[in-house]
Symmetry: C2
Subunit: 483 residues, 2 copies
């Protein structure tokens, strides 16, 4: 016995000895009330310092796996684990509900084509981690921890970390939002915010209206919440207002969901004129709007365009969900809901029931990073790099891909439409054999079978050379498929 | 104009100038296409360096609020924000659903008695932040950031941060759990884990069985998920098995929820014998069990007691939810679900739909902290301090409070039962006038009106002197109330 102990890694060796002995006890190799070797014996046996063994035995005792008799030594404690012998086999597939099954079925990550080594993948629109500003993040952490480390590590408020809320209110004020009677709830990124809002709204008609195509995660969550989705065609400058008005006049909707800036997946920015008309229309029909502030910060040129919630002025009909995930660091799960104060008060209770509160550490690092003024500097760098990549990708698409329409006013992706009848799933299958993958556009459509002739090309994490090479392959393959 | 600019805080002044100008543009004080003062002029006006003004103007342009005409200067851009004038007033109270209303009604944080300055509060069972081990948390952050900072700040996996999952599997293995066909999902603490599990399980009978009293957040979430709750009496060594068997034989349950160690609120540790019998009983009735691993680590004496999921051996009927929140740092929102692999696969998709994934930074700091062996050291220190406080609180209760029963085998709280007819809400009202508050026990009971004669005393964040003083006041007031 004891001869098979080997330190496995660089963790403290005394911990490894303790855990080794625990296994022997749990497996029943060491029996209750059996005497353990003296610390001197075991230190010789394992060729480790006596202090290491003493510390391991102390740990074993702390954990309730051993006891000491003074003057005699250490003994194995009587633990309950060895009593385990029930066996019980439930069929979990039959015990989960429809929601769980649907969540699994709609989970694109489970169905997506995986990028093998060397594959050029245009599927991601996550930020390029090479741009990350690690030094200033580290500084933000240190700054904040030295100010109030104890506070950050204990429970916080469901509503969020106060300095961050104040900062974001100011930030939204700077976008022209009328903050009167509005408030903010911090969430774990956009997705949690969206899920909480959908969980709170009463579903009188069971129907929701949105752009078509639109953000696939949003479609998934709308379906999971049991909504029937009416999708409205995208024009060059955003949603078709005439089609929208038609739909609103024909049917009652509980809610609308819009992505006005760098719309996912088309990359279109809704014009200021259209925003104003859209707001008047939604006001007329009294349909509340969930605004997805997605990528709003990734504007490469042109004037500032105010979000819908700013366009709505004093109105309280817009629920804005913001996030810096696509611009800053998605690993920090922080987003925010800006909406009517009364509504936020309900959402705070849902947030508390769901997950108590968002990580205070994430919130405080983000706050300090913003406060230190690093965001502006980082954004300048990121915008300039992404703009360059955006233009390069666009140029490659124009050169190689036989598209019918190419859209994208900025952001981290472009959207390609081929002629009717072309099938991008077929194209994907052929391209992936050549080591190139992208996201087929039908994922973003509200009805099955729509958008089979479209695709999204995310370029943020692909090198210039690979952008060129990958898009050339896509183009060539598309021409071959057409014959 | 411009005379009212004043730097407000220690953020970079150029940012403050930029934001000041933005406000003037949004408010319409500066009109579209109006020429801005030259950088030289403004630097004189504001008494700031010219570089500061240049940088502010650049920022303004980056954000789309200004444009430059070469050789002429900077001008205000035509932005859409000034177009805002719709006004739209929805009655959100009428637009939220029953779930949101119930979440708000059951939100204890909205109803609880607030502790004014100087109040001695026994309501919290959060860890004492004075014990926090900030230096090693900082080191864990630095260690991990230098290994893979870029990875930590970008998107991670819904299932969780791989090294942490591996660590926790090993950790649970060390508690005697049979890991065959089991897997782990990382969540934002216990609460999110519990909510995700409840969201996934099919509700055939709409009923759930648990200890009575039990964890109030769990009761809230069970109600929010629409379950009818059957509560089973707590005996000295845990749930009453005879009452449980009676209930199981009379009615079908979808699920059970148990807190076997340092049960909240009674502080009772279920005996190993009872755990084994409980598992056999649940197996016989094929009712799955959600095990709350609450405070399992805060054992002050006696042998290691294996969790129910270890007692169940190869069986897959137990869903274990763990968290270090009450022991380590609740500000880091990290918990885990350990359960049957097939079930975990469904839960991963729900987690992804809900919040993509738990903060990678939180997960990686926790991982590194555990890996470095700091947890064991911290636990030793925390256990010894909490044990001292626990004994002191118990002694004070025995001396001052005219209780009928006092329970609590460890953990961060004690539970007091007075004779039938005594009303702890009345006691609370009287004590709070004297500057002492606690949690009335009826909060923890599954049926309204039960447990009016009970109270929970959380001592983790109260000083020794205040424990003595506060409990003396509670005791005196209780005697007075009895007359």
């Amino acid at each position: 016995m004891f001869y098979d102990f080997k330190p496995m890694n660089d963790r403290p060796v005394s911990l490894q000895v303790k855990e080794y002995l625990k296994r022997l006890i749990i497996k029943g190799v060491l029996q209750p009330h059996q005497k353990l070797p003296s610390t001197r014996e075991l230190s010789t046996l394992l060729n480790l310092s006596r202090n290491t063994i003493i510390s391991a035995y102390e740990g074993l005792e702390d954990d309730g796996f051993a006891y000491t008799i003074h003057g005699k030594g250490s003994y194995v404690a009587e633990t309950s684990s060895s009593a385990a012998n029930t066996s019980w086999d439930l069929d979990w597939g039959a015990r989960v509900n429809e929601y769980a099954q649907q969540a699994s079925e709609l989970d694109m990550m489970k169905r997506g084509i995986r990028a093998g080594k060397g594959t050029i993948s245009f599927t991601s629109i996550a930020p390029d981690e090479k741009l990350f500003d690690l030094e200033n993040v580290k500084r933000a952490f240190q700054d904040r921890m030295s100010v109030e480390g104890n506070v950050l590590l204990n429970y916080g408020y469901a509503k969020g970390y106060k300095p961050l809320i104040e900062y974001l209110l100011h930030y939204m004020d700077q976008k022209g939002v009328n903050l009167k009677e509005k408030d903010i709830l911090i969430t774990d990124g956009f997705t949690e915010g969206f899920d909480i809002v959908l969980s709170a709204l009463s579903k009188k008609h069971g129907s929701i209206i949105c752009e078509n195509p639109t953000h696939n995660t949003a479609i998934k969550n709308l379906k999971l919440h049991g909504y029937e989705i009416t999708g409205i065609t995208m024009e060059e400058d955003g949603i078709s207002l005439s089609e929208l008005e038609q739909a609103l006049s024909e049917k009652a909707f509980d809610c609308a969901y819009f992505v006005p800036s760098y719309h996912n997946p088309t990359g279109i920015v809704m014009s200021p004129e259209k925003r104003l008309k859209l707001m008047k229309l939604m006001e007329r029909y009294q349909v509340p709007v969930i605004e997805d502030g997605f990528n709003e910060e990734l504007r490469y040129s042109g004037s500032h365009v105010a979000p819908l919630i700013a366009t709505a002025g004093q109105g309280n009909g817009v629920i804005y969900i913001g996030s810096f995930s696509k611009v800053l660091f998605p690993g920090l799960r922080v987003g925010w809901i800006l909406a009517d104060r009364e509504l936020i008060d309900y959402l705070v209770s849902i947030k508390r029931a769901r997950s108590i509160h968002t990580s205070t550490l994430d919130q405080s690092i983000l706050y300090q990073y913003l406060y230190n003024g690093n965001f502006e500097k980082y954004l300048k760098k990121a915008r300039s790099e992404y703009k360059r990549k955006y233009e390069w990708t666009k140029q490659c698409c124009e050169e190689f891909i036989p598209y019918e329409r190419l859209s994208g006013d900025g952001g981290l992706h472009l959207f390609v439409t081929f002629e009717e009848g072309f099938d991008t799933r077929e194209l994907l299958a052929a391209c992936s054999r050549k080591g190139v993958i992208f996201t087929p556009g039908d994922n973003f459509y509200t009805k099955d079978g729509q958008g089979r002739n479209t695709m999204r090309i995310g370029f943020s994490r692909v090198s210039d050379d690979e952008i060129n090479k990958g898009i050339r392959i896509i183009g060539e393959t598309a021409r071959q498929l057409r014959g």
